[in-house]
């Protein structure tokens, strides 16, 4: 069983943190991962920076631009992570846009992920139908879990389809927005969370977008299995550096 699947079986609300690899400094990647694990986070999304991150708001855009300036590439990231499994046990997910993976070679990329010990992938601009037709067998060959997004606008029929193709969890985007655009949840989100919970999907759901603190984490995980924080964490390390990560994580988990 994959580390992600094991983690999902634990009887707790999972906190997953996204950060951009190679940010704030090129060589911070491994330290951020270690510090997140030590702070008690359940899962980590390692962002591969991209020049044109369509689904991201200003915070993650800026961290991606800086990481690329720092010299981050797919090859550099794999080199940084080559011994990561001697250091941490936490489930690791690589999150990035499809073009850099395509250029690396999808199969080579997946093989490298397996070798390093990356457990899953989130690729926002690889649609589920293209994945199913062209890439699913490759991902499965290397034991990687591919995570798909759903939004409040996604139809029930499509959610069922995505559920049938998924084998880990479903990334539930809390509202129609780019990352970091909104904070806090209203009635619309509550209704959406309840609607999805009532669908009794095969895969658990983890909520992302709009979660920044304990309050929003609790709201998001009332029904869902966990929640993902990205922009708020990037803002924290931008302001405070990477050594005080527990100061960000502790209040959320307390």
């Amino acid at each position: 069983m994959n580390r992600i699947q094991q983690k999902l079986q634990e009887n707790k609300k999972l906190l997953s943190i996204y950060f951009t690899a190679g940010y704030p400094s090129l060589d911070d990647t491994v330290s951020v991962i270690e510090n997140l694990e030590n702070a008690g986070v359940d899962m980590i999304e390692i962002g591969l920076p991209f020049s044109d991150p369509l689904a991201d708001g200003p915070t993650i855009q800026a961290s991606s631009t800086q990481a690329l300036k720092n010299g981050m590439t797919t090859t550099v990231l794999f080199e940084q992570l080559k011994d990561i499994r001697t250091r941490v046990n936490i489930p690791l997910i690589a999150m990035g846009y499809f073009n850099p993976m395509l250029q690396y070679g999808v199969e080579a990329f997946c093989a490298k992920c397996k070798k390093i010990g990356i457990d899953g992938l989130i690729i926002p601009d690889l649609p589920v139908d293209v994945y199913q037709e062209e890439y699913q067998t490759i991902f499965e060959k290397y034991g990687l879990i591919n995570v798909f997004l759903i939004t409040p606008q996604t139809s029930d029929e499509r959610i069922r389809f995505i559920d049938s193709v998924s084998n880990g969890f479903i990334y539930m985007v809390s509202s129609a927005s780019t990352t970091g655009a909104k904070s806090g949840f209203g009635n619309e989100q509550s209704n959406y969370f309840e609607r999805i919970a009532a669908m009794n999907l095969k895969n658990p759901q983890i909520v992302g977008f709009g979660i920044s603190n304990k309050e929003t984490f609790q709201q998001a995980t009332k029904q869902a299995a966990g929640a993902i924080i990205g922009s708020a964490f990037i803002k924290h390390i931008t302001a405070n550096g990477i050594s005080n990560i527990d100061e960000f994580v502790n209040p959320i988990l307390s």
Partner: protein
């Protein structure tokens, strides 16, 4: 071999819809409806009426006598520069605004580089009384001030794109982000034959009025519907797609594309995508694009803001890959000289984009009996400052 789009939204291996799930409902709504709506008699009637009475179509097919003498061949110019707003762009914005209304959308967003598509979008929004937001790179706003003023005068809000390189590709990113944040009431009018399926096909079909008219006009003048060659400049490739469309499957008609080589293909400052690009994904479609080995999209350069795009529409990637199209690229200098030549020989000042197409004679010699139709995609008024600076006028 078919050069048209297949039912999955691909031209050969290029195209598709590589979009985040947040955009899926909008793009899918469009995909399911665009052909149906375009085929409705009431849509056709309204579209054609506006093209005639508002845009001023059909645009003339003009036999360029002195240019023909100079290059010892028969050259016709398809005068898209005479359209309302000064370029071919308006053919597409008229079509898309009618589409948006039939889809019940209330708010229009667009990206623009040089500002031609932004102006054409702001124009049709004024015409229909719809809210219009145009994303434009901060750097382009500074260098295209007259078009920014036009858009504002037409009632549009011009939002500076501050991310990345602050030019066309970043304006496109910002427009896509706006659409993600406004998924219900907004239609995104993409200005070129790029983006996720069905955009490349929809834009091509709206622009195909260009080649449709060429056929009937040429029949009248030359007794045949088919020229030996059709020539167009390519950035994203919307005027080219419209110019080629009705000739794609007739291999007796040669298809010629001229890209912007900037300061030279290998100068590091170029926008010659077919020569420099590799297959990848940009703005939701699989196509040829300029990128690093790591798959980061690189910033192109051309003196022409309208050709300054790191990708090319998927139709054109297919034409290049299959050899159906002949691809050339003209440098800044070659294009500027070709623009000046047209002004002196025919009394027409072309847009700098169009000047690239006119530089085809640098690279290709035609036979005396060849009928060569060049898409004169836009007029040069907007580029006067560039011409003044370049030629010390």
């Amino acid at each position: 071999m078919s050069y048209n789009i297949n039912d999955k939204g691909y031209y050969g291996e290029f195209g598709g819809a590589y979009i985040p799930e947040m955009l899926y409902p909008n793009v899918e709504e469009l995909r399911q409806n665009y052909l149906k709506i375009m085929a409705e008699p009431s849509f056709q009637e309204e579209f054609n009426q506006l093209l005639k009475d508002y845009v001023g179509r059909p645009s003339p097919l003009y036999f360029a006598k002195r240019l023909s003498e100079k290059y010892a061949t028969k050259i016709y110019l398809k005068r898209e520069d005479l359209n309302h707003t000064g370029a071919h762009k308006v053919n597409n914005t008229i079509g898309q605004i009618l589409m948006a209304r039939r889809l019940g959308k209330k708010r229009i967003i667009a990206e623009t580089g040089a500002g031609q598509h932004g102006v054409a979008t702001a124009t049709v929004c004024a015409l229909m009384g719809m809210e219009c937001i145009v994303y434009m790179g901060e750097i382009d706003i500074a260098r295209q001030a007259p078009n920014v003023a036009r858009m504002k005068m037409l009632g549009a809000t011009v939002v500076p794109a501050l991310s990345g390189s602050k030019t066309l590709k970043d304006a496109t990113n910002e427009a896509i982000r706006d659409w993600i944040n406004n998924p219900v009431d907004t239609h995104y009018i993409i200005g070129s034959a790029i983006g996720p399926h069905p955009y490349p096909d929809m834009v091509t079909k709206f622009q195909s009025v260009i080649s449709e008219e060429i056929k009937s006009q040429l029949l009248e003048k030359e007794g045949t519907e088919h020229p030996n060659y059709v020539v167009a400049c390519i950035g994203g490739g919307s005027n080219a797609a419209g110019t080629y469309y009705h000739f794609l499957d007739n291999e007796d008609v040669g298809i010629i594309a001229v890209e912007a080589a900037g300061k030279g293909i290998h100068s590091g400052e170029s926008a010659a995508t077919s020569a420099l690009g590799k297959e990848g994904i940009i703005h939701g479609c699989k196509t040829l694009l300029m990128q690093t080995d790591d798959g980061q999209i690189t910033e192109p350069y051309s003196i022409s803001a309208g050709l300054d795009y790191p990708g090319v529409g998927p139709l054109h990637s297919h034409l290049y890959k299959t050899g159906r199209g002949e691809f050339y690229s003209a440098t800044d200098d070659e294009a500027m000289q070709a623009g000046l030549e047209l002004a002196k020989l025919e009394g027409i000042i072309p847009a700098i984009e169009t000047s690239h197409a006119l530089a085809v004679f640098k690279y290709k010699t035609f036979q005396p009996n060849d009928v060569v139709v060049i898409s004169l995609s836009g007029r040069g008024d907007k580029d006067l400052n560039n011409y003044i600076e370049y030629f010390n006028l």
